[in-house]
């Protein structure tokens, strides 16, 4: 790993990435929306060799006591061992939990949903929106690609029909799960003194630090998460945030 890092860094300092991209360039992204037959909404997204599937399942449940008229959003990432030799079966790893929570926070804090629109009967029954993200092949940058897939899946979701207070999953209504905002998380990793956008798994593995910034359409930020063992300078944070705004705009156009 040390040799790999030295090599990667030496190349990056010359502005060279293993796959020939510029430091601030994303891999090619494809989005196949509404593509999971069993889910209320779904999307299959590829970014280079990273391939993720996101699905939305909706259920009726009781609201939290402190927000009796708000629906519930839950975002979960399963780092399937199928998708990467480093991932192991078993309870969610800390990486899986952090990835879930960073994507979740971006969507939640953007107020992407009018949470009141998910209320059926205040204090009694609300919609619970489960967004699950599963990588099929994990080649780095799962926060950004997972976040993009989650938003694409939510955009394609339709409420299931409700009959006698119970959900009939066999019938989807025409009513979409309305999005007020489109949050896009962008993660920039720091390797040595170089900042890199859309890291592959090899780049991700040797990164010293990272910052994920989620923006909405008007360029405002709604969540941040710094990761890694090494600190970031104020200048680096400023550069990363500018990049997140710029790249967020590019990715939002793909939806």
């Amino acid at each position: 790993m040390y040799a790999q890092k030295e090599h990667t860094l030496a190349q990056l300092q010359k502005g060279v990435r293993a796959d020939g991209r510029k430091l601030d360039e994303f891999r090619k992204i494809t989005i196949d929306a509404d593509s999971v037959a069993t889910a209320e909404g779904g999307a299959r997204v590829t970014c280079g060799d990273t391939h993720v599937i996101a699905g939305v399942k909706m259920a009726l449940g009781t609201p939290y006591p402190d927000t009796p008229d708000s629906g519930v959003l839950m975002v979960n990432v399963e780092l399937l061992p199928m998708s990467n030799p480093e991932y192991e079966p078993g309870p969610p790893s800390i990486d899986s939990i952090e990835t879930s929570r960073v994507i979740d926070r971006g969507i939640r804090e953007s107020h992407a949903f009018d949470s009141k629109s998910l209320c059926v009967t205040a204090g009694e029954q609300v919609w619970i929106v489960n967004v699950d993200i599963c990588p099929v092949n994990a080649d780095g940058n799962l926060i950004d690609i997972g976040g993009l897939a989650a938003v694409a899946a939510i955009k394609s979701a339709k409420f299931p029909e409700v009959e006698d207070g119970k959900v009939n999953y066999k019938k989807l209504s025409k009513k979409p799960l309305k999005l007020e905002h489109v949050p896009i998380p962008i993660t920039v990793v720091k390797i040595g003194d170089v900042l890199v956008v859309d890291p592959t798994y090899d780049e991700w593995s040797v990164a010293d630090a990272r910052l994920t910034a989620t923006t909405i359409e008007d360029g405002r930020l709604c969540s941040l998460q710094k990761g890694g063992d090494v600190p970031l300078t104020i200048d680096e944070v400023n550069t990363i945030v500018d990049l997140a705004v710029k790249k967020g705009k590019e990715l939002r156009k793909l939806l």
């Binding site: 060799d49 399942k57 030799p85 699950d132």
Partner: protein
């Protein structure tokens, strides 16, 4: 009652449309995508690699370890809770037993070959789809195999024997339904997985087993084509 026409209009001995592709997961040593109707499986093979805990090691040959998982959004009803459960553990067991008779891991003592099978969407017949996907992935990974184990379900809806039940047929309420998933070594006709739930007669089974062999051969041919396509040109 008589079951005259299948819900989706198929012939009684027809499977749903099948798509098979090898080499779809770049990180894996071998992989496959297998879709039959709306049931869709990915299989990934990692290994041979070192096996821990060590007491599970076999000094004579490599161990095949199977993992079966449904993605949380893959069920037509409620969200499926991720992680193993009694059903998935039993499926892992029978899938492993179905594949081992053709697979030679004697070159890899003390090592493990991990096989992960995950479903983005399901519409019955998942253990059969899992086995077909697994066979393609193991072949793609380059392990010596006598043949590609192929699986499809046999079934009975009311009075009719059918092949490859979908969920609507499994849930048919106007009469008895039997679901008989089976896996076969196509070249020899040997059966490596056989389970059933529901009522049927011994003659039903005998007739069904005779009818299903050409269907298994057809599916196997599609699976072989998937592996060939990966290594052509």
């Amino acid at each position: 009652m008589a079951y005259k026409k299948r819900y989706d209009g198929r012939g009684f001995n027809d499977t749903r449309p099948i798509e098979a592709t090898a080499g779809v997961i770049k990180n894996a040593d071998g992989s496959a995508h297998f879709k039959i109707g709306k049931t869709e499986a990915y299989a990934a093979v990692y290994g041979p690699r070192s096996l821990h805990p060590r007491f599970m090691q076999d000094p004579k040959k490599g161990v095949l370890r199977c993992f079966y998982g449904m993605m949380p959004f893959s069920g037509a009803g409620d969200r499926v809770r991720p992680g193993p459960n009694r059903r998935s553990k039993e499926l892992c067991l029978v899938i492993q037993k179905a594949l081992m008779p053709v697979l030679d891991l004697s070159a890899y003592p003390n090592a493990v070959v991990d096989l992960f099978i995950d479903f983005p969407q399901t519409d019955a017949g998942t253990r059969c789809a899992a086995i077909c996907a697994a066979s393609i992935a193991l072949a793609d990974a380059g392990f010596p195999m006598r043949d590609m184990v192929t699986a499809v379900s046999l079934g009975k809806v009311e009075d009719k024997m059918v092949i490859d039940l979908d969920y609507q047929e499994e849930a048919h309420e106007d009469g008895d339904v039997a679901d008989i998933p089976l896996a076969m070594v196509p070249s020899t006709g040997e059966i490596t997985l056989l389970q059933a739930d529901g009522f049927f007669t011994a003659d039903d089974l005998k007739g069904g087993l005779a009818d299903i062999q050409p269907v298994v051969e057809e599916i196997a041919e599609q699976m072989r084509a998937a592996v060939r396509a990966r290594y052509e040109g």
